[in-house]
């Protein structure tokens, strides 16, 4: 077995973004629409407690709860933490305190940010009030943050509220972005490195002797590490294929085209790639193909017929 030293570790930025569209139930809809209208709503539990922010089910009894009440936009900090280095997406981009605030009339606390000059200006028990965002859309960020407030409660107790507003918000878009630096690991790095030399390498399982392309570092059949690097191809055999008739967004390949599984010579697993250089309706199982690189390409653009006679079915039937 030849164990090959690891080539330089590959890294690439990977950005995952997702704008989840979420629908709201009646309680959440009323709460978020209320914020748009500068009205803070809570929900009353069976035992008479007022939850702010409101939820649809009692966290203790799991009973459905719907009785909305209006609470004040003033409240008391129940605990806090000083955040001297705000991170992307957080409510304020200057140092601020994270706070849990029990609004006047509520029995539970809401998480948000408190705009304060420094940690010495913050303490549990301090009085605060909502600072509304200039533009409000029906989201928790309609509360821009809290700010210190020395006055009385803006309103005493709670008042029943129908939760009815004109043009209620029925959903939110929860946008999220996470940034990663992707590193593909030893086996896949070797594969990608070899491709840049226009070579295709796999790895052989020490136990079952199968050659995996692309290699992932393990034999999924035997559950052991694969370490013996094997050059395969460049030619191969089409084991199966499909004809694509629908044009993908942002793809400049004309339809119809053929996407195929190709067993490279020496490999025990077929990889998939596009077939070109032959009319789409003439592609067939057993067709012998070779890779075509475009100038500067880091992987084969497509595979084309070699002109050899078709492979005998028995030579690739295990790989179909």
């Amino acid at each position: 077995m030849t164990s090959v030293p690891s080539p330089e570790v590959l890294r690439a930025p990977l950005v995952v973004e997702f704008p989840f569209t979420r629908s709201l139930g009646p309680v959440q809809s009323a709460f978020l629409t209320g914020l748009r209208e500068r009205t803070v709503l809570g929900v009353r539990t069976g035992d008479g407690r007022t939850l702010v922010p409101p939820v649809e089910y009692d966290p203790v009894t799991a009973e459905e709860i719907r009785d909305l009440v209006e609470v004040a936009a003033t409240g008391t900090v129940t605990t806090w933490a000083w955040n001297h280095e705000p991170r992307r997406g957080q409510p304020l981009d200057t140092p601020f305190a994270w706070v849990l605030v029990r609004l006047d009339g509520a029995d539970t606390a809401l998480l948000h940010a408190l705009d304060a000059p420094g940690p010495d200006a913050v303490r549990s028990g301090m009085r605060v009030r909502v600072r509304w965002a200039a533009e409000r859309v029906g989201a928790i960020t309609d509360i821009a943050c809290f700010e210190p407030y020395e006055g009385e409660a803006a309103q005493a107790g709670t008042a029943p509220h129908t939760g009815a507003f004109d043009d209620p918000v029925t959903g939110i878009v929860a946008a999220a972005r996470l940034d990663y630096t992707y590193a593909p690991g030893r086996a896949q790095s070797a594969y990608i490195h070899a491709l840049s030399d226009r070579r295709t390498v796999g790895e052989r399982c020490p136990s079952c002797r199968k050659v995996y392309v692309p290699p992932r570092g393990a034999c999924p059949t035997c559950g052991v590490a694969t370490a013996e690097r094997v050059e395969v191809g460049p030619r191969g055999t089409v084991t199966t294929y499909c004809i694509v008739n629908i044009k993908a967004k942002n793809l400049d390949i004309e339809v119809p085209y053929v996407y195929a599984h190709i067993a490279l010579d020496g490999a025990d697993l077929a990889l998939h790639a596009r077939i070109a250089g032959i009319p789409y309706d003439e592609v067939r199982m057993g067709l012998r193909v070779e890779p075509v690189w475009t100038e500067g390409g880091r992987y084969p653009d497509h595979y084309r017929p070699t002109g050899e006679p078709d492979a005998d079915y028995d030579t690739y039937k295990e790989l179909v």
Partner: protein, 354 residues
Amino acid sequence: MAPHERRQVAVVAFGQSDHLRTTDELSEVEMLMPVLHEVLAATGLKTSDIGFTCSGSSDYLAGRAFSFTMALDGVGAWPPISESHVEMDGAWALYEAWVKLQTGEADTALVYSYGKSSPGSVRDVLTRQLDPYYVAPLWPDSVALAALQAQALIDAGETDEPALAGVASRSRTAAAANPHAQLKGPVAQGEYAVRPLRTGDCPPVGDGAAAVILAAGERARELCERPAWIRGIDHRIEAHGLGVRDLTDSPSTRLAAERAGVFERPVDTAELHAPFTSQEVVLRKALSLADDVAVNPSGGALAANPMMAAGLIRIGEAAARIHRGDSDRAVAHATSGPCLQQNLVAVLEGETRV
């Protein structure tokens, strides 16, 4: 199910990787495989001998959908195996495997979990597990939420900054004897990360993996000289709204411990999954730990906190102490979610030595 109706199930092998800040040169499965092979070698089992396989990991750490399927290559997922996955810490995968063994459908189980935090920013990634309507849009990171809990404890007079520093120091000093730990020996408390928590109050961010093998009844005795019998195991959850909870207490841990039988007799060892120093204060109270209990002799999550594996490692470390004869009755705890939201508690015992 009453205890006498249960099958007796034990941890018979435990393995973990060296936990490192980065492991760029390894894919998840490449990081995991030596650990899998370690527990298989310890028991003499082959992957094909295993009755049930269960794993824990998270797509959000990997930045990729169905990322656990890649790791399955490491366990020989052919011919079709009886396999499951939890998008959580491996301690919950162990719970699922324990239930599977209770059904009698398997006599052995392989449980593994892994996480690479290095490719992304774990503080940002973990915000995605929060309530998506009211909380996640504010991007409160994991350290900030732990700091709110720490301040609540300080306000309640249950701890102070010097006491928290003491937890950090004791944990990392203990980790000096742990060859797998990421932070070993004294570490400066450092600057505030999010006040009142300093960098020393926070866990290291890193990559790692762990695996255990469970076996039922006589099979456990065949595979291990001194099996770590799981006498009880239970997990409970708190309300997801942080402002609904009393952050200075952990009723879910206490209830899980009660159901697992922790309070029936004293324990000599506690492996607690407390990534932040302040969380140890909460857990000690919830578990009513006596002063003479060895708490986190491995260094705990303050010494190495590979996401999705650190809870399973607590069970593994407790079991390994029983295997070695350093403990007779241990409690292991795992947590998931912000501010100890979800808690799993297991009681492990070794048979009386003659």
